[in-house]
């Protein structure tokens, strides 16, 4: 994250220079893929306490204000954690434990709403909305690209040329524009 060396600022648009940055990006892609492949291999499950906590964090503490059974110190939450530990020790699966709690206290005890039924909407709606929104954005871009650019009149060109001259004259002494990268400086 050091400040970029001069090479990185070399003016774009010179065909033969494709080489250096292309190879740099290729090397980077290889390094990244290898690192992610190494890093995303999951290691074996944690301790018993971790497994209890993982299940308890999906179950609501019935007595507390919006906390999970994993994070609350209320006696009920502690009892639930002990019960989950017992059930895990007996070999019950997390899903079975959750089903048990849902049948005893109602669906409301599960912090992850069900995937089916009316509760499933909470999972589906955001995905649908996001897909529609990005599709709409893509559609808008297509429309903008198809729209013909406005015709430039000679008058327009003269205005632009005058503005550019004025802009260059307040530039740096060597006549370079103030903002050669076109990146703005936060007016």
């Amino acid at each position: 994250m050091a400040s970029p060396p001069v090479a990185a600022r070399r003016a774009p648009g010179k065909g033969p220079r494709l080489g250096p940055w292309m190879s740099s990006w290729l090397v980077m892609a290889v390094v990244l893929v290898v690192a992610l492949a190494l890093g995303s291999r999951t290691v074996g499950g944690g301790s018993d306490q971790d497994r209890v906590r993982a299940v308890a964090s999906t179950i609501k503490c019935p007595q507390c204000a919006g906390q999970s059974a994993a994070s609350s110190d209320a006696p009920t939450a502690e009892a639930i954690r002990r019960d989950i530990a017992d059930r895990l020790a007996k070999g019950q699966s997390p899903d079975r434990i959750r089903d048990f709690y849902a049948s005893r206290y109602g669906e409301g005890i599960l912090l992850n709403p069900a995937r089916s039924g009316p509760a499933g909407l909470v999972w589906v709606l955001p995905v649908v909305a996001a897909v529609l929104a990005f599709a709409g954005l893509g559609f808008a871009f297509r429309r903008w690209q198809q729209a013909a650019p406005a015709e430039l009149s000679a008058e327009d060109r003269r205005l632009v040329a005058a503005a550019r001259r004025a802009r260059l004259s307040v530039g740096e002494p060597d006549g370079e524009p103030v903002d050669p990268h076109g990146e703005g400086d936060g007016r």
Binding site: L32, G108, P113, P118, L125, A130
Partner: protein
């Protein structure tokens, strides 16, 4: 005496707000512009009333005037001075009083800033909107949320505030910061309404309110981070963000406000997205009201929800009114809001801003849906269900990663159109920074795709931000650090810190519950904790049982259980060994009655937590730099050509074009 004084202040502020509305309405409808100057007097009266009411309440708390119902139910003689002052915002009525004071403060600031332009109808409409909001809030305090009710017989003492609200100093700062943010969004909303009402829907109002929005946003950000910090230091479960409905209520306006701060640049530059920007401003303001409704009405179970009262329906009604007014005005001005511009390429700065806005809007939608979904389902078929942390984490993670990616790419994108070559050159070093972050994380033992992506994109984003600031400072010296773009890059760095710290601390937590005899040690997540012994200490407002715990053979930490006279059970107060690498979080779960017994401790080791708070500080610094005027450029005409009635939609006169806040 205090109650009567406070009551008088509220009445004064309420009546003056009505007077202000009447004055502005008469002036605007009869065209007597000079009358608009009189609005300033009403502003002064509103502010005076708010200050008197606030001072009366503080005086009542400090002098322990238990004839006031609020003091009798939330104050006590044992509460230490700082928390005594902070008791004002520890319950419903007082917090609305704080809201009123801050609102009056913003009203004064706007009036002062535009003091030479009070006769401008745009400013008139903005003041009218703010007076209307004042009327609502001071009206609340006259009716259902009256902070100055009195008791016939004053008790000798009160219970004091909720114990959780009186054992950490952050309680003195988190609510005022949050409210400065919430209430601050009234200003851009007022100007948006004014722009719509006057038909001057060009870029003028945006430029006027740019800095106000930035200030409100910065306060809201800092308020949210302080709230997370408070919850980490006090609540004892080792977390700082629980997707609690009220946390979500503060996060929602932050999301839409952040979207607005970005899309506003597209409108200024290209004259596009007028409807969208107006909608975002209105959505942000109405979400602050919705958040207040969720907090104050007790409609959702939450540690923050104070009580149920008639305040809830009134706030909901006001929220509905705000939404109706906004939608109605935008619909009415629809023809003028059409913008002629177009975006040349999705691979451009404005294209990235658009994608950013869609992502932020989707993020806000997920949070809003998750928050109110249980309410909706219950009202439809009576079924009770919960939407909790696992849901929010899973649904927001992809959006968070997308936003990090955009944050990395957008600063390198030029406006209008970028070639692949420009991008490849400009993004090369930031991308290497991101790759380096991934390699470093893997080398240090981090596993899991999602956190690694977060680190990589965080490094990428940080690289892009540093690159921009480095280029700007090389060109302009210290001025390369100020101004909106450069200050914004510092804010980006703060956001990257928070994102990386969030990913690391939530992915690599080690938590154990251990039972230790005096002198016994346990090893958790590479740290040793040794229980030394227990001591009991009486404080003015509580009794503490303090466990002495040595961490890594070094300093001794003191997690404790606190018993407050008004509490039925003991409240844990964790103790944290903080370091740049990881935090060792100690919470006392059970302490022996007699010295010498065993304690039960929860030990949580989480990496990088400290950087969350540092990130909050960096965001505040970056916002301050962004608000500082950058290099003056020659004023440029807004890019948009008005569609209808060109003559009336000219940019405001030269005086108007001054950047807001530069007096």
């Amino acid at each position: 005496m205090n109650a009567a004084l406070g009551r008088a202040g509220i009445v004064l502020a309420f009546v003056s707000s009505l007077g202000g509305i009447a004055t502005v309405v008469v002036a605007l409808s009869t065209g007597r512009r000079a009358l608009l100057r009189q609005a300033a007097s009403f502003v002064a009266l509103v502010a005076g009333g708010a200050v008197v009411a606030f001072a009366a309440m503080e005086r009542g708390l400090v002098t322990r005037d238990f004839s006031m119902e609020y003091v009798a139910s939330h104050g006590s003689t044992r509460t230490p001075a700082l928390y005594n002052v902070a008791t004002l915002w520890s319950a419903l009525e007082g917090s609305i009083l704080l809201w009123g004071l801050i609102l009056a403060g913003y009203l004064v600031a706007v009036t002062f800033k535009f003091r030479r332009r009070l006769t401008d109808p745009l400013v008139g409409w903005a003041l009218l909107t703010m007076f209307a909001v004042c009327t609502f809030f001071f009206g609340l305090m006259l009716g259902p949320a009256n902070p100055f009710r009195t008791l016939a017989t004053a008790p000798l003492d009160g219970p004091g505030p909720n114990p959780l609200l009186q054992n950490n100093v952050l309680m003195a700062f988190h609510p005022p910061m949050l409210y400065l943010g919430y209430v601050g969004f009234t200003v851009p909303f007022a100007f948006a309404v004014a722009a719509l009402a006057t038909g001057r829907v060009g870029e003028g109002w945006l430029v006027e309110t740019r800095r106000w929005t930035l200030f409100a946003w910065a306060f809201l950000s800092v308020g949210i981070v302080l709230g997370a910090w408070w919850s980490y230091e006090v609540l004892g479960w080792g977390g700082y963000w629980a997707w609690d409905p009220v946390e979500n209520a503060s996060f929602l306006p932050w999301l839409t406000g952040t979207a607005f701060l970005h899309s506003v640049m597209v409108q200024e530059r290209r004259g596009m997205l007028r409807v969208w920007n107006l909608s975002l401003v209105c959505a942000t303001f109405s979400l602050t009201i919705l958040g207040t409704f969720l907090t104050r009405s007790g409609v959702l179970d939450s540690v923050h929800a104070f009580s149920d009262s008639t305040v809830g329906p009134l706030l909901l009604g006001f929220f509905a009114l705000v939404v109706l007014v906004a939608v109605g005005l935008i619909g009415w001005r629809g023809d003028r809001l059409r913008s002629p511009g177009r975006i040349d390429s999705p691979v451009s700065r404005e294209g990235a801003f658009l994608a950013n806005n869609v992502a932020f809007a989707a993020f806000a939608f997920v949070v809003l849906l998750g928050t109110v979904f249980p309410l909706i389902v219950e009202s439809v078929n009576g079924e009770r269900l919960s939407v909790g942390v696992p849901y929010f984490n899973r649904m927001t993670m992809p959006l968070g990663l997308l936003l990090l990616f955009l944050m990395a790419v957008a600063p390198a994108l030029p406006w209008r159109k970028a070639s692949a070559e420009t991008l490849a050159t400009r993004l090369q070093w930031p991308a290497w920074a991101g790759t380096g972050a991934v390699v470093l994380a893997v080398a240090l033992g981090a596993r899991g795709l999602a956190p690694l992506l977060a680190f990589g994109l965080g490094g990428f984003g940080a690289g892009a931000a540093v690159r921009q600031v480095a280029l700007a400072t090389r060109r302009q010296g210290w001025r390369g650090l100020v101004g909106r773009t450069n200050g914004g890059m510092i804010v980006h760095l703060g956001v990257v810190l928070i994102a990386v710290a969030f990913a690391a601390s939530s992915s690599y937590t080690t938590q154990r519950e251990v039972r230790l005899e005096p002198g016994e040690s346990a090893r958790v997540g590479g740290h040793s904790v040794t229980y030394l012994g227990i001591t009991e200490r009486a404080e003015a407002n509580r009794t503490d049982r303090i466990a002495r715990v040595r961490v890594d053979g070094g300093q001794v930490y003191a997690p404790r259980l606190q018993r407050f006279p008004n509490g039925t059970q003991e409240i844990g107060r964790p103790s944290v060994r903080t370091s740049p690498v990881d935090d060792v979080y100690l919470a006392l779960l059970e302490a022996p009655a007699a010295a010498g017994g065993a304690v039960r401790l929860r030990v949580i080791v989480q990496p990088l937590v400290m950087w969350l708070w540092v990130g909050g500080g960096v965001i505040a610094l970056g916002s301050a730099l962004a608000a500082f005027p950058g290099r003056r450029r020659r004023g440029t005409e807004p890019a948009s050509a008005p569609v209808a009635e060109p003559a009336r939609d000219r940019p405001d006169p030269v005086e108007d074009r001054q950047p807001v806040g530069v007096a």
